[in-house]
Amino acid sequence: MARFPEYYTLWDRTGIYALRAVAGLVLFFLMAPILVIIPLSFNAEPFFTFTEGMLAFDSEAYSLRWYGSILENPNWLLAIRNSFIVGIAATILATTLGTLAAVGLANSAMPYRRLITALLLSPMIVPLIIIAAGMFFFYTRFNLVGTHLGLIIAHAALGVPFVIVTVTATLAGFDRSLYNAGIGLGASPMRAFRDIVLPIIRPGVISGGLFAFVTSFDEVVLVLFLAGPDQRTIPRQMFSGLREQINPTILAVATLLVLVSGLLLVTRELLRRRSDRLRGV
């Protein structure tokens, strides 16, 4: 209590402690469910709950069997493969088209800028179930339902808004005179873009790409409607697992996914710092 200034009344101090307690509880509410699944995934029994042995820290109660069962199950292996194929392809598509468009939208000569930006951002707002139903109706005509290509196109459309938002944000801090200087020194617009603009906005592009990848990697509603058994992805496999036969393999996969999101979080934080440094913020 000594750290508080003299003039703080008991009332003020109680308030500050109460705030801390509430903030701590909310952080606990946010993290606890995620942390609970990690020890549960090492359960030796096929349950979703702590056994008495686990609570007594009996080493026999823990095992890696559910991690092993991921590797033994062809469905999970196929799902992992598909998630990466679809995720990476959708990311490349969304990032390439999205970056070009964001550069175009940053140009003050762009007509109907507000309207077009709103259109390009709308996949972020419309509920997934509506997108899924519409895509199911429309993609059927092009035989895209039940193909990898259909899923890639669908996921790329979902990822586009994130690329637009992040790249636009980095471009907002971009000093256009750098580009003009390049042109003034005789570079072609292509070269000036490649050698001057792109390196500076790269953190925004990568960060948008990360968002697009995570969106695809985590998406399940469109997969439920558009994918056949050959296109099942990790979230799809988890969804059917949770609906049909619950077993801790799902918890093992979930634990691995928490690790992946931790890595993504770190990557994005590093990118943000780099971007701030490059822009001289």
Partner: protein, 424 residues
């Protein structure tokens, strides 16, 4: 934009005004920049129109257009054209239907016709199927001569007025019926519109969806506001560190977080073991597959969407306002309500509308933890898409949901500005 620039150029009439050539050159340049900008945006725009807008448009079209019956029994409908809707249609119409039914029986599509009729007149599905089965081996010449009598002999319902009204109703390709159903309305025999007398399902479900979304929004606000306040006023090092605890759940897969709640809330789950362990309850509580589970899990999943905008607004508030209020004699609590809280309202409305919009359209979490009690509008749309195969009704329900979301988004744009969408 173009006109604004050229007005400026023309308006310059001082001695050193631009020459005509200079004006033309600058216009040319502007046009060129415009084309370049458009050229950069065009590929993505074309892609989004194909991949996203065309599907949405198809869905909207589907909500009023259903050609199934027209494709299945074109001859019957053509013959029915002149029927006035009273009594039984003339014999040729019944004969045409008998011939159509035989064909459908052999094509094995009578079931689809039965399904369509059944939606207009419940109980008709089996009638269509059994009649088609009996007509499958009927002699063509006999059918053409006395199809009407054969139909009446198989089941006298084929001569009822109600049934033929259902045939006529489903025989229109463009129908507003799906929207009427989605709004719990029905046609009266006189052609007016009234509230459906049998079970009203969808309007209560929309209201329930809005209510659940509102509860979640309020909960995320009550939990998120103190946390954001604490983080915004903590020393930067600690705030950054604790922020990770908000961002990690934000970046963690939705399925993972839903899985976690299943592990926590199920009958033999962690929460029940804990409650029974400390003796708060002797029987496990049934929390899974309830509205409670939907609300708790979604509050957890959407909480970061509330905390992040609040945090960024609170970080931008100058602490000297509060100090000024206090030094002028205000007590902390009135100063908070009258000075600080109003300044955080942009963050409250941004976070609140975001959470509300996302929860109104939520599907996965209610589907997994909600049981029958915690289902929302998205779940019934999925049900009609995947189980009852009533795609047109699903499309109509989806169209209404889309309107609802667009109204909310319009409010969001008014209050917050859609340009202010930021990513953590």
């Amino acid at each position: 934009m173009m006109t604004a620039v050229s007005d400026q150029l023309h308006g310059a009439s001082s001695p050193d005004a631009l020459t005509r050539e200079e004006i033309l050159a600058s216009r040319r340049q502007l046009r060129r920049r415009r084309l370049v900008a458009l050229g950069l945006v065009a590929p993505l725009l074309a892609f989004i129109i194909f991949a996203f807008f065309a599907p949405i448009a198809t869905m909207l079209y589907r909500s009023v257009y259903n050609p199934t019956v027209v494709e299945l029994i074109p001859d019957t409908l053509a013959a029915l054209g002149t029927w006035d809707g009273t009594g039984t249609p003339d014999e040729p119409v019944l004969t045409a239907l008998a011939i159509d039914l035989k064909r459908l029986a052999n094509e094995r599509t009578a079931g689809r016709l039965g399904e369509e009729f059944n939606r207009a007149l419940p109980g008709t599905s089996s009638l269509v199927k059994s009649t088609a089965r009996k007509l499958r081996r009927a002699d063509d010449a006999e059918l053409a001569a006395s199809g009407a009598t054969m139909l009446g002999d198989i089941d006298e319902r084929w001569t009822s007025t109600d049934l033929w009204n259902a045939v006529r109703e489903t025989g229109r390709s463009f129908r507003e019926t799906y929207f009427l159903t989605a709004l719990d309305l029905e046609r009266t025999p006189e052609g007016g519109i009234q509230l459906r007398e049998s079970a009203r399902i969808y309007i209560p479900l929309y209201i329930k969806t809005l209510r659940i979304a509102l509860v979640i929004t309020v909960l995320t606000f009550l939990l998120g506001y103190p946390l954001a306040y604490y983080l915004a006023h903590a020393p930067p090092m600690r705030a950054n560190l604790l922020m990770v605890l908000v961002l990690l759940p934000f970046w963690t897969s939705l399925l993972v977080r839903t899985t976690a709640w299943i592990a926590l809330l199920q009958t033999n789950g962690v929460v029940n073991s804990l409650l029974m362990g400390v003796g708060l309850t002797s029987e496990p509580l049934e929390m899974m597959f309830t509205e409670f589970a939907t609300i708790v899990a979604m509050t957890h999943i959407l909480l970061p969407f509330m905390v992040l905008p609040l945090y960024s607004v609170m970080r931008g508030i100058d602490p000297s306002y509060m100090r000024a209020a206090m030094s002028l004699g205000s007590k902390p609590i009135p100063a908070f309500w009258r000075i600080y809280f109003p300044m955080t309202l942009p963050g409250v409305s941004a976070g609140g509308l975001l959470v509300f919009i996302i929860s109104v359209g939520y599907y996965i979490t209610p589907a997994l933890v909600g049981g029958t009690d915690g289902q929302m509008i998205s779940n019934i749309i999925a049900f009609h898409m995947q189980q009852s195969n009533n795609w047109e009704l699903a499309a109509a329900l989806g169209a209404l949901l889309l309107v609802l979301i667009m109204v909310l988004y319009w409010v969001y744009d008014r209050l917050v500005g859609a340009d202010n969408i930021k990513l953590a």
